[in-house]
Assembly symmetry: C2
Homo-oligomer: 595 residues x 2
Amino acid sequence: MKTVPERIAAFRSAMEKAGCDIFIMPSSDPHSSEYAPAHETAWEYFSGFSCENANLLITRSEAALWVDGRFFGAADKALAGTGVQSMHMGVKGVPSVLAWLGVRLKEGSVLGYNAETMPLHNMRQLKEVCDSCGAKLVDLPLVDEVWVEDRAPLPSTPAWILGKEYAGMEASEKLAVLRDKLKALNCTAELVTKLDCLAWLLNLRASDVDCTPYALAFCYVDMDKAVLFMDYSRLSDDAKAYLSACGVELRGYKEMPAFLAENTKSETVLIDPASLNASLNNALHSNSAFTVVEGSDPLAMLKAVKNETELECTRKAHIYDASAMVRFQIELEKRMAAGEKLRETDIDSILHKYRSANPGFIVESFPTIAAYGPNAANMHYAPKAGSDAELQPKGYLLVDSGATYYTGTTDITRTYTLGELSYEEKLAYTRVLRCHIDVAMAVWKEGATGGELDMLARQPMWRHMLDYRCGTGHSVSHVGAVHEGPHSLRPHNGVAFVPGMIITNEPGIYEEGSIGIRIENELECVEAGESEYGKFLRFEPITFVPVEMSSVLVEELTREEKDWINHYHAQVFEKISPLLNAEETEWLKNKCAAV
Amino acid sequence: MKTVPERIAAFRSAMEKAGCDIFIMPSSDPHSSEYAPAHETAWEYFSGFSCENANLLITRSEAALWVDGRFFGAADKALAGTGVQSMHMGVKGVPSVLAWLGVRLKEGSVLGYNAETMPLHNMRQLKEVCDSCGAKLVDLPLVDEVWVEDRAPLPSTPAWILGKEYAGMEASEKLAVLRDKLKALNCTAELVTKLDCLAWLLNLRASDVDCTPYALAFCYVDMDKAVLFMDYSRLSDDAKAYLSACGVELRGYKEMPAFLAENTKSETVLIDPASLNASLNNALHSNSAFTVVEGSDPLAMLKAVKNETELECTRKAHIYDASAMVRFQIELEKRMAAGEKLRETDIDSILHKYRSANPGFIVESFPTIAAYGPNAANMHYAPKAGSDAELQPKGYLLVDSGATYYTGTTDITRTYTLGELSYEEKLAYTRVLRCHIDVAMAVWKEGATGGELDMLARQPMWRHMLDYRCGTGHSVSHVGAVHEGPHSLRPHNGVAFVPGMIITNEPGIYEEGSIGIRIENELECVEAGESEYGKFLRFEPITFVPVEMSSVLVEELTREEKDWINHYHAQVFEKISPLLNAEETEWLKNKCAAV
């Protein structure tokens, strides 16, 4: 395997030959995925650092990787000595990618990019900077040219159809709903290119991306038909028959550009510039039969507001998942008490043992984050065998994990007390818990947005000028990706919550080199009722796992917060104890005791 | 004086002659003022009901007045039997003005309006509805034709210049800042037509509108000069000289259209379609020398972020104002204790006695709201001699009042306990206080908007599916209007708070027929400090008047809320007692005792 400097040197040679001055690699793939298949992770290969939401820029003499707050510490460490600079996104004094380009691009400079992995919206921003500098933005195949060895092939895992008993609607019904939405937008067709939207639309699943049960595919939907572009050899005959009955035709993964070129029928096609890749956009504009309309993908909202079947299934998934979490914690406590030397990587093994025994288990929904002590300050810490920490009988162990079952996808974090805690450690934990509860018990008048609700989460932090450098919560796809939009609990998010939406509630404290604490449940948005003042909404937890209370400074909680946690723990006991044996039930009773 | 039905009948005759099917009268004036001079209040004259933020619509057979939540109860009462329907804005099942028009306008219908009092933005919405119905929108002078008797003349009160010691900047400096802002927007001129913006820009004050120290005027500002359109005969020689030295030319109030027609120089003029009246917009578009650019008026933000002098002066105004509030309450308590029969209208007299004795007093900043018992459910209740309630030794008296001094404008509400209270009355008061405190002690990361902060205010209400049908708070102009934009504490307001902004914090409970409670302070946005997580902001109260605590269920407050109120009362005592005599000081000490 080449070293990072060797990889970058090879890339610079290719840049020189192509007359390219700067090359940009975003953390994207042809589907604007958050988690790309290994085949597309050029920014990771050339920087040597694994992360999402990043941008790697390479000039003839510099290289710099922009990472978000979750990765600051880890990137600093990993990039040290590689010649790649670690750039902290959004931090005062650190230029944005566009600003950094603005001072480096000159009249006549060439900024290279790969149109297939660049969302249209981002391509336009780059074009604007290039225009203002007199530079050229050029689609160059340098990644494919240089990155040949050590590169994973395009994935092609078995693909299957999620049954209506789990999905709530047949693909044919969903296509009909989508067509109605398109008509309302005066469109006759749409390019569906995001994997989560496509998976929802066609009830299609596979395992092309680690921990994310999707198939690499594109779809073209018009009023009469849908054309699915994927390696369809991996579909069972039943799945093929199902899709065919839904009016879905099959073509190869790479055939969409050719298909678009062939079309002669006049169509008004909806595209979402935030996710459509620049290459497909070019293909579309090359055929004058298409009138292109840009807008948000209506599938995002259709998918985000779960139907009754999806909700019921998901609630079941969480009950099973909680029983695994309970058994995991009992084993952890026992083995720690017995003085056994456990390491961070053991956590995933224990969790996997219990989760995989649950009915309908498919896969973990993301790589388990098991972070002991200061390691937890890295929000997305991934322990590695050999370098992982040994658990000591003191401080905190943060475990963020989840699974996808046929019934749904889960995401949960608990921060376990392994022994002695300082006052500061307890205070930090208590503040995180207060943030968590203040969101969980929110009630709001219909129309309130994620940005407005996020304000509630952060008050217990902000009053002490503390914060966490990430959203408070994200949506979770149904039997799908663990992160989805469009709603989120995050400053300035403008999407109003609607009953049936699911959101994680995961405030935290992360102090580099010392501590990391996070408490995460999933919440469902439900109706609270109606009064003369209008309709009110609230959240109902769907995660039912005890929250460690021995590390809480109870006197810091308000009465309402105490009432909330007591009510929550009563629910946990009621819902999870039926799945447990007598010893486990006794353990749970203790953990759920009222404060 | 004609009755309301007589006035409407006369108006309908004029409509018939003009071929007009429906006529719309918004609560506006040529300056899009919230409070119009009496001369322009056609919607009040023809409906017989006084209010802001309204729309009166008259057809040949129907009449309907749209009012907002503050006026629901009062409008229902006042309009009963007049033939004018009371329409509750924003309530489910009540059509909006535009929806109501949509079902009444037919192919060929004529919707009449007065372009001089119709903001461009609203005119466009009307035009859109007319277009969709095949109706015509026609500028008709029917109001001037019908409303001749009982109509106040255009006001022309003495006008004067607010000195730099109060304003912080000379008009010439403000003009220079505005010109810089215009340049940054690629504009060379602006029409300044909002009275508050104009008053701020030129340090010009008068008393043309009740309780609002402004002069009716328009201003045209380009890179070389400013032209002020007003009845300038009322300016002193000093004021004229001041304006002249600032490069301001004077013309008559009605001469702007002629001035715009005369212009031959090519100018790119900024207008704000939210406030420019449709008539001036026509005048501008009739002259091809003008290129019109639409955008927000930069003066709104310049004015809303107070300078150091404005802030210092305002803080002083509030200290004096608080001493008057304290003396008022002492007198109220004494006279009630002596068994005196006081009425609601007495409240303003007592307040005026103390306020007007303060240095630099100019005028009340709005008509005092003194509402006893159920009358307080009407947020903008105006007691009238003869029909006002007598105060009883039980329940609540809500007093919302304020004054404009040379140093600043104040706005404060206290809800006084006159005697016995039920548990429900105490609970309601406690909830309002919690809302108030939760905003007052907010800390947030730079960038948070008024909509996001509003969420904090309403949680103690929303958790019980209660609400108040108004914003939580508004900005206050410096020596000016008691309401100003662009920031506010209100759901979905998107303006980020900036140090130097002032905002009222006035949550309330209003239950028709039973109760009205409001607690209002003014707050200044200040820096809270900076940490590794960024810059944090918070509020600092500038109103220092004790909050009645005998009506609070103290056990319902959180520890943080108790700490806040104790700290606040300590500040009140420290800041106000130096202005009081020994007896008053003793009284204040009691009121400020820690809970």
